[in-house]
């Protein structure tokens, strides 16, 4: 565990990549399943109102997401740092997110939840943006086992 290692990568997401990535890491029900749930709730008069609300939120969330604060489309447009080149760095001391005008370093003991999903490892840094790594890149660099071991020791695995 004490062995030194270091891995970093740079990325500049465009809006579509950013939204797709955050959607794929999200634990929300996908659009199709949410719509099906809404339709299913329409069949009973007691749950019809909930079904209508569910469908409205699903449709609005999908096609008019700019009205919902905090969704990834809005984050991309509103947050200055997301559109700049970002460097994600992991080493035996902790994780670093660096972009134009902002630098965040969090020691391993300060990480939050982490998850592996759709080929990505995301590590939450409470109050800060999550740290993102492609699992294949980590494996190729030979640091995957060390990173995941530290995530298991210090973080909380995100429930699906």
């Amino acid at each position: 565990m004490d062995q030194a290692f270091s891995f970093s990568w740079n990325v500049r997401f465009n809006e579509q990549q950013y939204v797709d990535l955050h959607r794929s890491l999200s634990s929300e029900l996908p659009f199709g399943r949410r719509a099906l749930l809404g339709v299913a709730l329409l069949f009973s008069k007691y749950t019809m109102l909930i079904g209508i609300l569910c469908l409205c939120l699903t449709v609005f969330g999908r096609f008019m997401s700019r009205f919902f604060p905090g969704v990834s489309t809005n984050s991309y447009r509103e947050m200055p740092f997301v559109r700049h080149k970002t460097t994600y760095l992991v080493n035996e001391q902790g994780l670093t997110v660096k972009s134009r005008g902002r630098k965040i370093f969090v020691r391993w003991s300060g990480i939050g939840t982490w998850q592996q999903k759709n080929g990505w490892l995301s590590v939450g840094l409470p109050w800060f943006p999550q740290c993102l790594f492609r699992i294949s890149d980590l494996k190729q660099a030979g640091v995957y086992d060390q990173v995941v071991a530290r995530c298991r020791t210090h973080g909380k695995k995100k429930r699906r």
Partner: protein
């Protein structure tokens, strides 16, 4: 100091109660109104079988707000308890270049950039740069250190006052959209000049 350079650091000790009071976006005066209005709508919905379930769901919100506010999702009580940082008495710094936030576990810094929101409340100056935790500074200490006026110049240059006519808003999402619309694309005043304070690139 005369050439516009300044720096101020303070170890901030915010209790949960202070944190909640200072961070609440809606004015505490309006809070009872929202709770009462939600409870009335929920009660009315309970009277009809078709809206009964929604009423039950809606009733949970004011009940939690009154009896167990820390259980509400993303409420300030929960944010304080979940965040390891404020219990560690962070050292917050502000200078002519930007802001920094330091605890045992975190070293973070951000250069002055748009959009930033600032607010003076109950003797504290709150500065919230986008994508960075809100930084709190005691106004009397800033004045005593002789940096208050210079800091306010920076706040006005890069930010807008919370809830001002300039950026009238009720939630953080709307707040950032308003600012972005008003000021155009975000700009960093020092471009790629990253570091100030103790955080170094060669870590």
């Amino acid at each position: 100091m005369s050439d516009g350079r300044f720096k101020f650091s303070a170890e901030i000790n915010l209790t949960e109660q202070q944190f909640v009071m200072l961070n609440r976006l809606t004015s505490p005066k309006r809070w009872p109104f929202y709770i009462t209005a939600t409870a009335i709508v929920a009660l009315l919905m309970l009277l009809h079988p078709f809206t009964f379930l929604v009423g039950v769901g809606l009733f949970i919100i004011p009940a939690l707000a009154i009896f167990a506010p820390h259980k509400l999702l993303n409420c300030q009580e929960q944010l304080y308890r979940k965040s390891p940082y404020f219990r560690q008495q962070p050292v917050l710094s502000v200078s002519d270049k930007g802001l920094s936030f330091r605890t045992e576990q975190v070293e973070a810094e951000v250069l002055w950039s748009k959009p930033t929101v600032w607010q003076e409340i109950h003797g504290w100056l709150k500065i919230s740069p986008a994508g960075f935790p809100a930084c709190w500074f005691p106004v009397p200490d800033l004045k005593r250190a002789g940096v208050y006026d210079q800091l306010m110049l920076k706040c006005r240059e890069f930010g807008v006052k919370f809830d001002s006519d300039e950026a009238n808003r009720s939630d953080s999402g709307k707040q950032f959209r308003t600012i972005y619309t008003t000021y155009g694309p975000p700009i960093s005043c020092h471009a790629d000049d990253f570091t100030f304070g103790e955080t170094s690139d060669n870590r």
